[in-house]
């Protein structure tokens, strides 16, 4: 297979009754995750038969893995290098986008030493994305779907990072935006989300209230022409997280890691990373071998880890109360799938308390110079706990995800952080401060 054929494997599919043709590259339709019913590509997210979630189905470029690898490696230094594996048109890289992705996979030798890890330990640092969270990945894909379906306003329910990512992407791609957040988020996230010129609406309630409100809005004439990236565009949006799996494996020299630790909010990211790894195996881009997927939650919002540890197959909603606000989803849509994946791969789902989150943020900063947001603190903290409890093997290759930036959750470390001393500009004053 030549590089060109990778880039032109698109199909054109008629939307149900709308008469417009949609080019989303290798995406051939939507498929119900529960009952398998197929639908044409469109802004739908729930199965008309069983209300199960819909996923994108593909005609993947099976055939010559070497050629596909070469085509990917010759592509741009962002997620569009994986365009043949995503629901986007082949010319996506030429469209106005924030071009997220291909963030650093940091060899975290200092952190490994700190945690007693003798294998390789990596941090996949998604704070390097344009708006400094992994959300730029999923939004970039949703923007292409919104374009294809003729939406003019981009919207979402958000715990903060997504609001900023949608605002920024909409500004650059020429969409209006109107995004919804719980009214009491961290200042960094609120100010950032507001600066891109779209509407930013604070909802008096928690994320689950915001989400319910958005579902109502979609059914109302007020929401006509609106693409909600994580509601009616959710099947496309979710695919963006697959790029984390692709990048990790490519950056490891086209190899699967042994263990991955992933934070859980809705659970979509973890689910799609597993989907991405499975695709790489199917495509022959990596050699098949066992890998374990671990989920990380904050104790104050731990519906999935609670269910995992109790051996349940359903996830009982919680009322969130944690400083890890970007993970504060009490009723996670993909919770049951996370349980399946963690159990199937031999992983685990664990949680840490707020104090441990803050401690973990500092450990990561002080060992690797990476300033993570609270969600990153959750993941690093859970990794520590998993090692201590024997669930994670410290002799293997492990990848930890840092999905966001400490500058957006300054509140978490503001107390312990800041100036060691404040002095007059004199050597005597410095001597008296006793720091040298």
């Amino acid at each position: 297979m030549a590089a060109q054929s990778v880039a032109t494997s698109a199909e054109t599919v008629e939307i149900n009754g709308s008469g417009t043709s949609v080019d989303l590259g290798p995406a051939t339709g939507l498929s119900c995750r529960e009952c398998g019913t197929r639908f044409e590509l469109g802004p739908i997210f729930a199965c008309a038969e069983c209300f199960g979630p819909l996923e994108v189905a593909y005609e993947l470029p099976l055939g010559d893995p070497e050629a596909l690898r070469a085509a990917i490696e010759a592509g741009p230094n962002n997620i569009w290098r994986y365009a043949p594996l995503l629901p986007v048109p082949a010319d996506v890289a030429s469209k106005p986008s924030l071009n997220p992705g291909f963030t650093k996979l940091v060899d975290a030798a200092n952190l490994a030493k700190e945690f007693g890890v003798t294998g390789k330990l990596y941090v996949k640092d998604d704070s390097g994305n344009p708006t400094h969270s992994f959300k730029d990945r999923v939004v970039a894909i949703a923007v292409e779907a919104a374009r294809a379906f003729g939406f003019t306003t981009l919207s979402c329910s958000s715990t903060g990072n997504l609001a900023g990512a949608v605002g920024a992407a909409a500004a650059r791609a020429g969409f209006r935006s109107c995004v919804f957040i719980p009214h009491d988020l961290e200042q960094g996230k609120v100010v950032m989300a507001g600066v891109y010129g779209g509407d930013l609406v604070g909802i008096e309630g928690n994320y689950d209230d915001v989400n319910r409100f958005c579902s109502e809005l979609i059914g109302d004439p007020l929401g006509e022409g609106w693409g909600f990236v994580n509601v009616n565009l959710r099947p496309y949006y979710g695919e963006g997280s697959k790029t984390l799996a692709y990048e990790i494996c490519e950056q490891l020299g086209w190899q699967l890691p042994d263990q991955i630790v992933i934070p859980i909010a809705s659970g979509s990211q973890l689910t799609k990373i597993d989907k991405g790894l499975q695709e790489l195996i199917k495509l022959g881009l990596v050699e098949d071998k066992p890998y374990k997927i671990f989920g990380a939650q904050a104790e104050g919002c731990s519906p999935v880890s609670t269910a995992f540890k109790a051996g349940h197959e359903v996830v009982r909603p919680q009322k969130p109360n944690t400083i890890a606000k970007s993970l504060a989803i009490g009723n996670p849509a993909d919770g049951p799938y996370v349980l399946d994946i963690a159990r199937r791969t031999g992983g685990f789902v664990e949680d840490v308390n707020d104090e441990q989150v803050v401690e973990a943020i500092k450990i990561l900063a002080q060992t690797e110079g990476i300033f993570a947001e609270t969600a990153g603190g959750v993941t690093v903290g859970v990794t520590k706990k998993l090692i201590e409890d024997g669930h994670l093997d410290p002799t293997l290759t492990t990848v930890i995800l840092n999905t966001g930036d400490g500058l957006k959750t300054l509140e978490a470390v503001a107390e312990g952080g800041g100036q060691t001393a404040t002095i007059r500009p004199s050597l005597d004053a410095f001597r008296a401060a006793n720091l040298a």
Copy 2:
């Protein structure tokens, strides 16, 4: 010239009397910018003959530009791809570093339209660096010098970004750090700089007071074993800014831009970007042609633009008073060189007031989805003014530098930013807010 010979063009030079050998790659010594006197590589920054500033002198890989270009392009996606042109050992990419650089050169078509630019307009977005400012570049080079000279503590005087960059780089590279800042900086910069575990000392005074204090500390036994990245390691540190010139030209397809707009704090960055462009010409990596360099200051700290517009050759110090705190250096060390370069290339040095800075931050965010810190607002605002006043040609290819991140200067836009509305989670409440 083969790729290997590029990577091994290092020389070993004896430090004055110390007996240790120093490998800083192609760097062969230090040279006084004023009188040309040569010195061996060492932690010195002022000429013993005339007190002029010292610069790194090189044995550059002259010869086969095609081979050098190919070697660079095959290098890592960070500043170490330019190791043959920097004072760093050939194996630098294998050492613990934040690996900054190779940030996006954003095709800013929306901003061009907004400003009536008919040529190409690009934003070199250095908020994509590990600690989200261009300072990661200069610090990464200084760390190599500090390693070579046997320092164990990294230090600096900083307006905030540098403090964070030093703290993070020191943590990862295994140095102790102790950094000095004016005590009244933006919260984001202070908290971030403090999180990496080094000492962060607030000085009661402005940046120029902090800088004077650091100069005293170097001469005192208290400062023994300390590498001040922007004082006694300044000749090495400054070279990091050359990578901005290298990357811009490489990302333009190995071409010089016609015009570059650069913010001025100490003036070092602008001076070294010019040095970088001149090196690329000398090496045959780009075709020689005229280019213009423009400097950008805030009205509340505009010693260089004031001197430029008055036709002076010296820069009269000012007492800074501007929201662009990262540019608030009233007595800029490289001011006279900036005047030279702007005049020699046919550029201009301009300033904008704080209101224009905030407006420019919002314009950039709302057109390109890039959230710049106040320094970026200065550069974008000055670009607008230069176009309006006819100093900058809107039909040519122009590159604007964004050197830092809006999340670190939230204060500047917090008032106008934030939530458009706060409502109960109901369609009626949303309808009443009148946003749809």
